[in-house]
Subunit: 270 residues, 2 copies
């Protein structure tokens, strides 16, 4: 292995903190919904609720973009939609290629949200010769052999990888060599890329594992804690807690971590 390059810090893009950038799409979505309902203005409190964050955070986020609100009133919806779109680079069109047209790749190709906001699927690419020419989402699949020319002919700078894990790095290398500088990786593998190339990953099993961690914690919370050491016991605990149907109650909240503290646990190694 050893393809050299690993991740890179690469944060601070312009003055805007990375955490803020990651929330802008959320605000944009909420604003777009308001816009469609012809709501003219919105307060930080309302918008924050719609986006699932708290208002102080939202105001702080917006303060990095500039002063786009009106004190005592709120934000002009249309204006904010425009400003955030511009900040995110959505006022231009981004051609995207999807490499790996299996179940997932096909689902992505069919996903409407793609085209809606500034992104356009320029090509679907797969290594299987049998797929070449076959239409998926109204588009003929092209063979990997033509990857380089497709990228350059269409001026593609964003690539989506939905190949099996084993093929991902190779595909990634070819995409990068052909000029792609942003990659969205659905393959369950770590990609090595040179500096200047951004990679974001979407990984189903990682998300599930994080949920399982918290789930296990919840189960243990109600009953014993020491059970955590003994797998078989933890299982019984989990099952016991499974039927405790929760009482619903309005008010949403995202996720949250609690239980500070951090004393010594430890089970000695073998």
């Amino acid at each position: 292995m050893a393809t050299g390059r690993t991740h890179r810090p690469a944060t601070r893009s312009r003055g805007i903190p990375e955490a803020t950038v990651a929330r802008l799409p959320l605000y944009l979505r909420a604003l777009t919904a308001l816009s469609e309902r012809s709501v003219p203005t919105v307060s930080s409190e309302e918008l924050a609720a719609a986006a699932g964050v708290n208002s102080a955070k939202l105001r702080k986020d917006f303060s990095y973009l500039g002063s786009y609100g009106t004190r005592g009133v709120g934000y002009d919806v249309e204006y904010l939609v425009y400003q955030i779109s511009r900040e995110l680079g959505l006022t231009q069109d981004w051609p995207v290629v999807i490499v790996g047209i299996g179940n997932l790749g096909a689902a992505l190709a069919n996903y409407g949200g793609f085209a809606s906001r500034g992104f356009r699927v320029a090509a679907l690419i797969d290594a299987d010769p049998a797929m070449a020419g076959q239409p998926v989402a109204g588009m003929p699949v092209q063979h990997t052999d033509d990857l380089e020319s497709i990228i350059s002919d269409n001026g593609v700078s964003i690539g989506v990888i939905s190949t099996p894990a084993g093929a991902a790095q190779q595909v990634c290398d070819r995409l990068v060599a052909a000029g792609v500088t942003s990659i969205l990786n659905f393959a369950p593998t770590v990609l090595s890329v040179p500096d200047g190339v951004d990679v974001r990953k979407v990984d189903l099993s990682i998300e599930l594992q994080i949920l399982a961690f918290h789930e296990q914690r919840k189960a243990g919370e109600d009953v014993a804690e020491a059970a955590a050491v003994v797998p078989s016991a933890a299982r019984a605990v989990a099952e016991a807690a499974a039927d405790s149907s929760a009482s619903v109650d309005g008010d949403g909240s995202g996720d949250s971590r609690k239980g500070p503290d951090g004393d010594v646990p430890a089970v000695m190694p073998a």
Copy 2:
């Protein structure tokens, strides 16, 4: 709306930071690969490289779990695989339901990584009567009417939502009422859930928008970078840049529309 119980202090076992929890699956994957190649031990440096993080972070992460390494040697691969699996709750089996068997739902159902590590697809559920009984990934799709009984009969505590955005909240409410306490949401919408329920979201268009943001930044960098007159707004940026050593990527502060420093935005009427 407080239904009495706030989060229990639960000030007991390890207070593992959320950021660390999110990386454990990454380490586990890398370790599993090493295990398959029968590698007996690994150093923090090697493992970190395989997981795409730096070694200091990895060691700090592991220190929250306990002292599982051997100074001067490294970590025992098998032992670590076990410890992390246990910590993540993967030594038990988690039945999962997938609600919304469209393109994406079907792709998820077919996704192998699901079953591999502690997760088992207990049922596929869809609201379309025409789909009921139809096999997807070797499993008959069941109708939404039976959602509650499916959840309780199988002791499901983790649900995956891959419905259209419009149906997601309703499905979420039913899952939660039926006892699900962890949700992985693929629908492009913010879900409201009561305290105690975890939601994680996977959102293609958000990821693309984040990439577009950085991509736009890169494009501007080529042109403006050289002459980049740091806008007065970039005080924080300047300080950070002074410290970060060889970070390529610069900070593309060339683009200077307006800034947080109070000058007036552009045009754009209401």
